[in-house]
Subunit: 336 residues, 3 copies
């Protein structure tokens, strides 16, 4: 793709050679004269890049070809697809795949080596199911969805169109449900499913458990990073983005257009409204019904000695507070 074509794709104004074909899309630091890079507005930079995506108001630069756009970051996102070297899969079923005759495989779909497609599965048009995925009975994938290598879908999992699920993700495993009994824990069979909307991404080694009775439900356009754990019967609204290592206990309801920082937790059986932004490593222990930014816990690493003293005081905190209140009372008495 030359710069003229990229300019057309991005709706960009080209200030440079339309015939220039960038060899790579690269970071400012790593770019060579043959490469394309991008510069966020008002950011100082040095680069050897031969071509740049820049903001409309960027000063002209005789040494470089410039693509001027309104939203640099969005333009970068858009062009990134054209520089992606991930292998493309030709349609077809690898001979080592094990596909149940009752499964429906859409036209243009790819089923990779060792993949297992069980009875009653529906794989949509143009889906890519990479090596060694297991798609359990009666599960379905909408058009163009892409399972990277070694994804497991249990039975009865419904995934929408244009989704991407990364390696090691497990969708539809049993929720953690047991009833106490005189003989120990009695298993509650998890007979709900999992329903995931369109245009979702689910990270490597993440888990989304099936519902106990009702389905676990993930909306449209939801983005989930690696090693996220979503327990049975959680409900997640559209376009919510969840960073890595987050855990959501059972029946958490999380609204639309939320963001969740890494390793945050949700206590379960709580409801968080739309447009809530949770800080990293926060434990959300109750409902949130006002949009906005929230955080919890004690962030920040301190030198070990100082930190130990503060933690020791934390464990005296209620007593210290009471002593402060007592002192205030005495002080008030003195004053009167």
């Amino acid at each position: 793709m030359n710069l003229a074509e990229l300019a057309r794709l991005l709706g960009a104004t080209l200030d440079g050679d339309p015939e220039f074909v960038p060899a790579r899309l690269a970071s400012l630091g790593a770019a060579r004269p043959s490469d394309l890079a991008f510069v966020m507005p008002k950011r100082a930079f040095t680069t050897a890049a031969g071509a740049l995506i820049v903001a409309t108001e960027h000063p002209s630069d005789p040494d470089r070809h410039l693509l001027r756009v309104g939203d640099v970051y969005a333009a970068y996102a858009r062009v990134s697809a054209y520089f992606d070297s991930a292998p493309r899969r030709a349609p077809g079923v690898h001979p080592s795949a094990v596909v149940d005759p009752s499964a429906t495989i859409g036209s243009g779909a790819y089923i990779g080596p060792g993949a297992v497609i069980e009875a009653g599965v529906t794989v949509g048009e143009g889906c890519v199911i990479e090596s060694q995925c297991v798609v359990g009975a009666d599960s379905s994938l909408g058009a163009r969805s892409h399972l990277m290598a070694r994804v497991t879908l249990y039975h009865g999992v419904r995934i929408g169109a244009d989704c991407r699920v990364h390696s090691g993700a497990v969708i539809g495993a049993d929720g953690f449900g047991f009833a106490p009994s005189a003989d120990g824990w009695q298993k509650i069979h998890q007979i709900g499913g999992v329903v995931i909307g369109d245009d979702c991404e689910i990270g490597a080694n993440s888990c989304i458990d099936r519902g106990a009775l009702d389905d676990t439900r993930i909306g449209h356009g939801v983005k989930i990073d690696d090693q996220v754990m979503i327990a049975h019967n959680c409900v997640i609204g559209d376009r919510t983005a969840i960073a890595a290592c987050v855990g959501m206990a059972g029946s958490t309801q999380l609204g639309a257009d939320c963001t969740v920082g890494g390793a945050a937790g949700f206590a379960g059986h709580i409801a968080v409204c739309d447009k809530v932004h949770i800080g990293a490593m926060t434990l959300v222990a109750g409902d949130i019904d006002v949009p906005g930014a929230y955080a919890g816990g004690v962030q920040g690493a301190r030198p070990m000695r100082a930190w130990k003293k503060n933690v020791a005081r934390f464990n005296q905190l209620d007593a210290l507070a009471r002593r402060l209140i007592a002192l205030e009372k005495r002080d008030n008495g003195t004053k009167e």
Copy 2:
């Protein structure tokens, strides 16, 4: 199964039509007139369910068939098995499985597509080993244990009877053991194994590492949720239940009949007695020898601004406490 049969199974008193056959077991909200649901005692509800599992004292209801039981939740757990649509596997070894001739496969066992059973393995009667599991050399599974798709057992892992291990779980990987040396970290080969009792459940993508010298040991009836990490030489007592995302550092000893909340951590080389209940996201840093409920950390999400102020104060906490103490002294001086 009709209600008469369900009543017999549960030891329930039937107040309704014995011939009624519930189409599904469903939540109160999702149930249709053809379905069975359950109502916890003294809980207000509305439902379209045609049949209900209720507590003995539940008022009679002319519009519904009632199954009266002493323990509603246990009854629900019990019937859930009969409404589970998970595929049943017929005994046999799939032609694409790779089974070492020296392995012993019990009668009635199922070995799924692509599964690998290495030398010297013993698979008990009626076991189900789903697609693409890898069972390492000399490992063993007791009767009726069930590995879901894509479970890895390393060599020398012994799992009891009636266990269920979910996809992506890894049992018997090397413990994290290295000796410092002038050339960097020198590996300590992990030559212990893992021993897991009967009737355990291990969640998706959880890890239980093999011991350094002695075995890592999990008791009977232990329930472990997804993405739990149990390091080398941990010992876990019978019937303990561990929620998702918990991490236990090496040589943690955790008693019987404990419960651990999500994302809690154990510092390693500590002992926690029986009947201890640990809150979510708590870091257990020392021994606990008195049964009861414990928690740590700072839970709860607060509006970001307020939280930041409190965190800033936390980092002054020892100094603030000293100032309080100084003030108390001066106040005492004033008083005297």
Copy 3:
């Protein structure tokens, strides 16, 4: 191996029978008279072991064969390799493996059942690729590296020599990069790779994401435990060791010779210098440029009631501090 040979291997002084052949390497508690165990200096112990690795100054013991060494723990690490019962793999490619004809497989390498080696891959001499690993297009492994069962490398991942990657690890999955747009999140294709040095170990179910543009980079001799998540464009220095369940957000730079405690987190876009030691469950939220030990959060489990009171006070902490300051002012006023 008899004690004479072990003494030669370790540079140890033998005080006992050179012909004694230890049956097992065992812990002090589990050792039998036929076994070898080790005793850390100045540690009290009882054992039935017939042979011991001890410090040079250890008193002689007529009942046992002693191997005296300068560094007991290092000697234990060294001999542990000789007692490891992990299966050895004979060179060759299992007939069920799917190896692209354009891949280069080094001499002496083993490719296990069901493994998938894509186009353009280079597998070094003596590598072991266990069952069902997937090695994506154009990835490479240096000599003698060992992928345990069910490891996924995406395309364009370069791993050095003498590395060991445990089951379920996923290396090279997409970093979590999306640009906000009017239509929701727009994917930023992750076109960087992952580069890992020599002599690294990566734990079970850990994830190392590929870079957005530049590579994610792990140095030499880095040891990473299970369930660690390293996001796109992190850079980790040589010999750094990271305990289980740690999460590092994007573009974290972590120096050489660091150690990180379990379940700690890094906020991303921060730099931590060499020789920094981070406590368990700490959230490192900013740069650290002085070597030493750091911690954060509030560790330690307390009885639930006491803890709840302290947490309640934490949420009043800024207000309490202000009240303390006010009281100090009034007190100073009184004094003057």
